[in-house]
Amino acid sequence: MLSLSRNEKIFLGVVYVLLLGVTLAFLLPFIIVLSTSFISEAEFARRGGYVLFPEGIDFTAYDILFRRSRVILNAYGVTTFRVVVGTLFNLAFTVTMAYVLAQKNLPGRIPLTIFVFITMIFSGGLIPRFLLVDYLGLRNTLWSMIIPVLVNAWYMLIMRNFFMSLPEELSEAAIVDGATAPVILLRIVLPLSLPVIATIGLFYAVHHWNAWFDAAIYIDRSEMQPLQIILRGLLRSATLEGMEEISFMEKPPPAASLRSALIIVSTVPVLFIYPFIQRYFVKGIMIGGVKG
């Protein structure tokens, strides 16, 4: 490494300071809600709002969310269902479609690919989609959050490109050994593709964890609402639906700390998982950036 001149040092210093500022800007909002989730009614009244550091630690907000109310645990259940079942369905449909469209000699491969591609650049829009889900009788079912988003065309094409990049000799050798198409898919292609399948699966899972708009328009019944919808409801009004018990409490927690606690509990799983899986995501983006 060359020794740095004075100007270079100033330049680097400025870069580091700016990056520190940006990093703080990413973290501070989370620190504020974490701190506020721990403040009591008395502290809230004294300090007047959200805080950067709590003076005391009070778990009333979490106590309400997890012990006194069934709403949150139920919503956790709904969200977990849509993440687990939704992602499994996504992967089953995406992998099979990508595998078939990766067969270079399949008659009709090009028209079928175009059939999928068209949906990426033109859509009927919100209203026809909503009416379709309604007429199919999917409204107010958990499936309304899973079936209308079974295959993401973009992810499917990423996966297809990956399958096409696998060496053909592998499956040809298996054919010589008498392997049938299902065996090739299960024994050869899938084991070789675990990284890309994991990546796409994680994309789908994060989508399911964060999605709220489909639940907002397809589901009216409160016991089927995912976590994000409960959070949205609490952000809009100070009272949590189905949490009337708060009003009977002697010292109910402030709305700000309830909201903060709910933000924390609906973010924590993602916060803990994403740093470990980000390299797969990054890889996924790069695969997607390469046209095949």
Partner: protein, 321 residues
Amino acid sequence: MSQSSRTLPLQRPGESRWSHARKQFIKWRFYYLLITPALLYFLVFHYIPMAGILIAFKDISPFGGLQGVIDGPWVGFKHFTRFFNSFFFWNVMQNTLEISVLKIVFGFPAPIIFALMLNEVTRTAVKRVVQTISYLPHFISWVVVTGLITALLASNSGLLTGLLNSLTGESWSFLTNPDHFRGILVSSHVWKTVGWSSIIYLAAIAGIDPHLYEAAAIDGASRLQMARHITLPGISFVIVILFIFEVGHILEAGFEQILLLYSPAVYGVSDILDTYVYREGLIRLQYSFAAAVGLFKAIVSLILIIGANSLARRLGQPGIW
């Protein structure tokens, strides 16, 4: 991944077209079977709604179910003329385009600058930590971001609002103030996307030939000069392509974000095509009218994305098709 080595896919002389197709079908039957569920999905959930845009040319009753759609009278371009002649057309178009342009002006250069800054960081550990933290906003939902914005900017209890109130002695409000609302939209958009979008630029930077930097160092170039004359030109092709496609998506001004954050007080500066379709269609139950507005948006978007793609190809870059 092919079976071509076993049988030639060519039609043999004397073989009828039909029997050739049948043989091909039998040979590939497992694959056709495997893809059928996914094809059905695309047919039902993508192509039927495309056909469903016909309701934009009808008057359908919101309570008649499927029969109401079939029985609804054809009205031609009535809903389109109503939309184009209404006050809302100009308001909604202006909001959509202005918010999109603001987001491009601030949100497009941000990840490039961020990537260039990260590239100057020589300590791998520091770089990795900053990168990981910068991806965080990408993984959280807009609902959570709305909660974070509330924590900072809520009228009475927000941390920043409280700070400003006590400093200036005035009572500040942001989320219901038309003067500030777009600033909130743009800054939260930049906050949420900058880290994740920088990935593609960092990858492009990593692909630049290191010899260029060595040669420049011998010539006495400073780090800032290297960034300006080597790194930036080195990633210029990525910048151009991403910019073209950003402009191609100009009608996507941020539906979920705006729907969660806006309120009647700021409709005038924030009601975009998507939120308008949502309110007219799913709140006021004017299905046909809302479908017409949606169709208008879909067609303009299609033209823009085809234009973006052909422009990218004309510049010698692979488009998306």
